[in-house]
């Protein structure tokens, strides 16, 4: 039976690897300027983890195959290199591999999180709440009106709690349920949650960031491809979590200007 176990392990290992190698199910194509290092990091990790996975499973299977049918007179033998060889292998092979991944990964991460947004980035506020996203653009004055939590009301469609009657900055703010951004222009996303934890995940944009109630976080990115994408919530936020989504339209600058004008007229 040992040999059957060995064959099964090898068959399972190979079948498991096929969809990975063929990219049967894979990340959606990247549409961001910062995504390439993430994709590279993913591919390198996949190659190294894949080799580690296949090599260990195959060695496990080979040893089971070879040593599970001992003949009566056989004596046990020791692995030639002993434990020292294993410890060195772990430190040298696995240790250098993971450290290299870690060091290169710093760059991909720093690109997104440790660089400031460009001065001319388009500011967009996003308000997350059970179970919808709303977006706010500052309008021609370039300034967002102040948010008053006590004025937030779904019933009155005042999703951001703005006081447009008294606040001059708020008068031209544009609030939408869909997000649109111009292509090839950096966006500075100002994230706020009005109730519980949520998250902003757009796989194509290579961004995922939690909303933390009580903490205003920001994110910046540039989309490079016109199209319509989905923004989904990835932080369990209650019974409607699965249904919390919004669409993101990446438009040409011209289309974006037109869209914003249309939205302003609807306010």
């Amino acid at each position: 039976m040992g040999r059957f176990v060995a064959v099964t392990i090898i068959v399972i290992a190979i079948i498991s690897a096929i969809p990975i190698v063929r990219h049967t199910w894979w990340m959606a194509p990247d549409i961001s300027t910062h995504g390439q290092p993430i994709d590279d990091q993913m591919s390198e990790t996949m190659a190294e983890a894949g080799i580690a996975f296949l090599a260990s499973q195959i060695i496990l299977a080979l040893f089971i195959w070879k040593f599970s049918n001992p003949k009566p007179g056989d004596r046990v033998k020791n692995f030639p290199g002993g434990a020292k060889a294993m410890v060195w292998a772990a430190f040298l092979l696995v240790g250098t591999e993971v450290l290299a991944l870690g060091v290169f990964g710093v760059k991909a991460w720093a690109n997104i999180y440790l660089t400031p947004p460009a001065a001319n980035a388009l500011p967009v506020q996003v308000q997350a709440g059970q179970f919808a996203f709303y977006f706010r653009y500052p309008g021609p004055d370039g300034t967002f009106g102040a948010a008053h939590p006590e004025m937030i009301s779904e019933a009155n469609q005042n999703y951001f709690g703005i006081d447009s009657d008294h606040d001059a900055d708020a008068k031209d703010d544009i609030v939408t349920a869909e997000m649109a951004i111009p292509v090839n222009r950096e966006v500075h996303l100002l994230m706020h949650s009005k109730d519980v934890g949520h998250s902003f995940f757009v796989p194509e944009l290579r961004v995922q960031q939690d909303f933390v109630p009580g903490l205003d976080l920001t994110l910046h990115f540039t989309a490079t491809k016109v199209g319509r994408y989905e923004i989904v919530c990835t932080q369990l936020c209650g019974l409607g979590h699965y249904n919390m989504k919004a669409y993101l339209s990446v438009l040409s600058q011209e289309d974006f200007d037109g869209w914003l004008k249309k939205q302003a007229a609807l306010q």
Binding site: M27, A83, V94, G95, W109, D210
Partner: protein, 592 residues
Amino acid sequence: MHDVSAAHHAPPTSFIRKHVFSLDHKVIGKQYYALALVAVVVGMVLSWLMRIHLAWTNYAIPGLHLLSANGAPGNVMTPEYYLQLMTMHATIMVFFVLTTAPFAAFGNYFLPIQVGAEDMPFPHFNMMSFWVTFVGFLVLMSSFFVADGPTLGGWTQYAPLSAVGAVGGPGQGMGVVLWAASIGIFCIGQLLGSLNFITTTLDMRTRGMSMWRLPLSAWAWFVTSVMGLTAFAVLMPACILLILDHVAGTSFFVPSNLVINDQLQPHSGGSTLLWQHLFWFFGHPEVYIAIVPGLGIVSHVLITNMRKPMLSHRVLVYSMAALAVLSYMVYGHHMFVSGMNPVSSLAFSFPTLIITIPSSIVVLIWLGSLYGSKLRINAASLFALGFISMFISGGVSGFFLAQPSIDIMLHATYFVVGHFHMVMGVAAMFGIFAGTYFWFPKMFGRMMNETLGKIHFWFSFVGAYAIFMPFHYLGLAGNVRRYQAFVDDYLQPLIPVHRFITIAALLTGAAQLIFLFNLFHSRFWGKPATDNPWQATSLEWSTPTTPPPYNNFGDTLPTVYHDPYQYGVESSAGDYLMQVSPEQVKGAQDEA
């Protein structure tokens, strides 16, 4: 070292002292095992219900309304009921199965015997440890029966959803309070247990039993109990603070200016990230609390069935200790995109990558030890080998999740679900199965049926891969976890994969009935076992009777002469030398 045979307690005479409020660590171990068995059945049935719902969202599951009329009107699961079942599945499995069975159940039964003691040093604490845990389980189960059901917040109970009260959604009022009370109570039980395990290992060893002569299973329970003592000591106060936010008007985890249902919430001054730090400071060591006993049990079972010791006993012990120490330094990898400072993410990333080194050493030592062995294939060794395969598969996916940049794509997806189910779920379960097939003869004096055990292995091994490998593919494609249905456009092509997984899960789950049947049938009608059916060396196989008497070794505690794993030698008994044998033979290598 303990060298006086002092009777801690006389043999029990009443039914209650023998079987209910027993002070005997062996009975307590079996009670923990029974609790884990009940819990795992509940947890597995919940997973079936979830899987059916995920694959066929509006399918009416016959009889489901009997479980909850509100949660399943017309037998169709509501979105909130899915999340409630999911939360209960995870909580039951992590706490009441993966912590209780490999650590509390087997550890209680075998740690005192393996160190050569007649019992644990604090038998009353030990009894309390089980009964407190049992009460914790009842409190958790009771949340099924309160008005709006159990909490839907997931086993991680992220604040502020968990702390704002009923306004957060169904189950977020009383459901959360019961959840936090249950887990707080559970922590007390495990703290009492950990204290006993640590003192048993350090103070109760018999003559000749130095620390290095402890079997790897005993080392694993010792390392785990040290982790338990620090991890549960953090989770318990966190649960108390969460309860206070509900009942005492405090705001530890809720900041000001939250608006729910258009109502400004009466909270201020709390921090939502505080909960995450407290929870994961417990939560990551908890992963190792679930898996380290498995490392020990599997090593112990494999050595006996390989008929040779591991390449190095000490390197395995040092690796387990390294895993334990590092497990506290890596917890922030659960929080890369949580809004924690991005430099902290990098700081947590490196220890997470480094923890792959001791894990790899363990795997390489196992592989190197298999070389040149005389491997016996039986149900116990099959599950031990299966454990190694699962540990490798679940381990390599950790390379991805250790890196913040990749985590942007994989966080909160099914990739994570696949990773932890393989490495701490299935692997730990395989460790439990290996331990069960191996130790059952000692615990009950009867052998389990080997043929049924092997059939059980084949279904479980192939089934577990069929269920959990595709989870990784779903995650790569961006399939978000904790969704009760997949309504997003980009998730539509993934639904057939979910159907495949559901069918695999139902079949693999059904195969576990073979194990349950084998367990109960063998308990009463199994072939009678001899004292040492596997020709093993450690102290549990040298008790005067099988099962061992109430004081384990009769009137005299054993004296230990050898390292735990003297296999491949030529002794009067055969190719092994028991720890209690004074015989000196050629080929025996005593390090201690």
